[in-house]
């Protein structure tokens, strides 16, 4: 029967990820890892007991001839002995090998570190005690040094087992569950953000319909007609501005020479800013000043051809037409001011502008929420528990080829 059992084909066993921890525990038991731990524990206990014994002997030890030793040296001896024993006993208190296999590695690491710092801390105590009670202190130090070797050999023994693999799987498993939790939380975040986004869209819909309502209101219609009128006026005024600036520019060389002898002439202002001077020239002196310029043009010593061209332009000027343009320009400017004021105070426009601001703010909020969703989705993309699961699956297969992680 036994022979048949031996040849019986081993069937692959499937395990779920949630059963993995139990499987790891049984794997540890099967691989006799617990026995290794018991062995290490026994070694530690034996050495600890021996060290305790040496410590007791050290504690009982006294100076060979106290009367020959000065009081100060005696108290130094006692102080160092007490501190040495106390530190080592404290170290021994924590020297219990844990029964759980997944705590052994950390324990060995921690104990090695503690032993190293204990050696540094007790160095001075040891040298002093060695002077007085060398025979009692040296066995303690030797036993402590043996602990170092014991820890190294325990680490080696544990490394020879599959415990490292168990640790690695456990670490990955923890990471896997962490990722799963993170994914759940991130998905919940997305749901919340989407809900918020929906609210914002709903709000925006309400605002959009309100904006349409405002747009069809009488006051907003008035605003639109006022704006149209303003645009027309501004266009007209701008062409008048261009006209006057062009006129002054064509006469510039003559005006420059003329104003040298006629510093108070209004043409001076026209030279600096023709459009501005045209508005400020309330009594319309421009034409009379240009006539004066025409009369004195021969005295301005202009080049012949220039003089002829300017004369021709001045002669072509029609006072009535220019005056009409001036009046139009001034009245336009006044009307533009009044229109701007009316537009600024138009309730439809004010309402529209405020609602537009709200829509803009909502659109910004929606964009923010979309950005948040993108960020969360990016995070989600980076979390790939399937990859982790595959890694775990490979490791399990390496540990036991007949076990398949589903």
């Amino acid at each position: 029967m036994g022979l048949f059992k031996f040849f019986k084909k081993k069937v692959a066993k499937e395990i779920q990820i949630d059963d993995l921890l139990d499987w790891l525990d049984s794997f540890v038991n099967e691989k006799n890892i617990s026995e290794e731990i018991i062995f290490i524990n026994r070694e530690f206990r034996a050495k600890r007991e021996k060290l305790k014994e040496y410590l007791n002997k050290l504690e009982e030890s006294n100076l060979k001839d106290p009367s020959l030793i000065p009081e100060r040296a005696r108290s130094i001896f006692e102080g160092n002995k007490e501190s040495y024993i106390k530190k080592i006993r404290k170290y021994l208190l924590g020297l219990n090998v844990p029964e759980k296999y997944d705590e052994v590695h950390d324990f060995l690491e921690k104990t090695a570190e503690e032993l190293e710092s204990l050696a540094t801390e007790t160095q001075k105590n040891f040298y002093i005690l060695n002077e007085f009670v060398g025979d009692q202190v040296r066995p303690v130090a030797t036993k402590l040094a043996e602990f170092d070797k014991l820890i190294s050999s325990a680490v080696e023994r544990m490394d020879r087992t599959d415990l490292k693999k168990v640790y690695a799987v456990k670490k990955l498993l923890k990471e896997y569950y962490d990722w799963e939790t993170q994914i759940l939380e991130l998905r919940r975040d997305i749901e919340e953000i989407n809900e918020k986004k929906l609210d914002l869209f709903e709000r925006k819909g309400k605002l959009d319909s309100k904006l349409n309502e405002i747009k069809s209101s009488a006051s907003f219609k008035e605003y639109e007609s006022l704006k149209l009128k303003l645009e027309k006026l501004e266009e007209e005024t701008s062409s008048l501005e261009k006209y006057i600036s062009k006129l002054i520019l064509s006469l510039e060389s003559a005006i420059k020479k003329y104003v040298r002898d006629n510093k108070d002439s209004v043409l001076n202002k026209y030279l600096k800013n023709a459009a501005k001077a045209f508005v400020e020239d309330v009594e319309f002196i421009l034409f009379s000043e240009l006539s004066k310029l025409k009369n004195s043009i021969s005295k301005l010593e202009l080049k012949k051809d220039k003089e002829e061209r300017i004369c021709k332009e001045l002669n072509a000027l029609d006072e009535t037409k220019l005056k009409d343009k001036h009046e139009k320009f001034s009245s336009n400017k006044e009307e533009i001011l009044a229109l701007n004021k009316r537009i600024k105070n138009n309730s439809g426009f004010l309402n529209f502008r405020e609602h537009q601001g709200w829509v803009k703010a909502l659109e910004d909020n929606i964009a923010d929420e979309e950005f948040k969703i993108e960020e969360v989705e990016n995070k989600l993309e980076r979390l790939n528990p399937r990859l982790l699961k595959q890694k775990i699956r490979d490791m399990i297969k390496d540990m036991d080829e007949y076990v398949v992680l589903k």
Partner: protein, 145 residues
């Protein structure tokens, strides 16, 4: 806890957890803090959610802020109205930019969905108004007095 729950119900279907009542005042504190406070006499832990005054619950601004996070019973008012409301004034329906009120009593929010206080619809001289019950300017006004 009836007063606070009744008040809360007007704005949200959710329930408020971790509430402690001491005298006539309600406090919001995390579970551990609540447990700890039971061991300490005369301890008022956490943040005040409001008080019962003459049989009426008066919420704190913190409670309104909490509600604003979860409630959908809100009205959003214009910038100008925001200032007026914070000065303790009542508002007119035309000051509402978005009306999401679900009952006669509601939270008042600004453009950025920040809570300004709470109010209710009321009739005054035959006209519907938004009656200011509590606003964020309340503390400042009390300081001035």
């Amino acid at each position: 806890m009836n007063f606070i729950n009744e008040f809360f119900k007007q704005f949200s279907d959710n329930k408020i957890d971790f509430v402690l009542k001491k005298d006539d005042e309600y406090f919001y504190a995390e579970k551990e803090l609540l447990e700890l406070s039971k061991k300490i006499p005369d301890c008022y832990p956490g943040l005040s959610l409001g008080k019962e005054i003459n049989g009426v619950f008066s919420p704190s601004l913190f409670l309104l802020e909490l509600l604003a996070e979860i409630s959908k019973n809100k009205v959003f008012v214009s910038k100008k109205a925001e200032w007026n409301f914070l000065c303790g004034k009542d508002l007119l329906p035309e000051n509402i930019v978005i009306d999401e009120s679900k009952s006669n009593i509601f939270l008042v929010q600004n453009k950025d969905d920040k809570n300004l206080g709470y109010a209710k619809f009321e009739e005054k001289n035959g006209q519907k108004i938004i009656k200011n019950i509590l606003d964020r300017g309340d503390y400042l006004r009390r300081e001035l007095n």
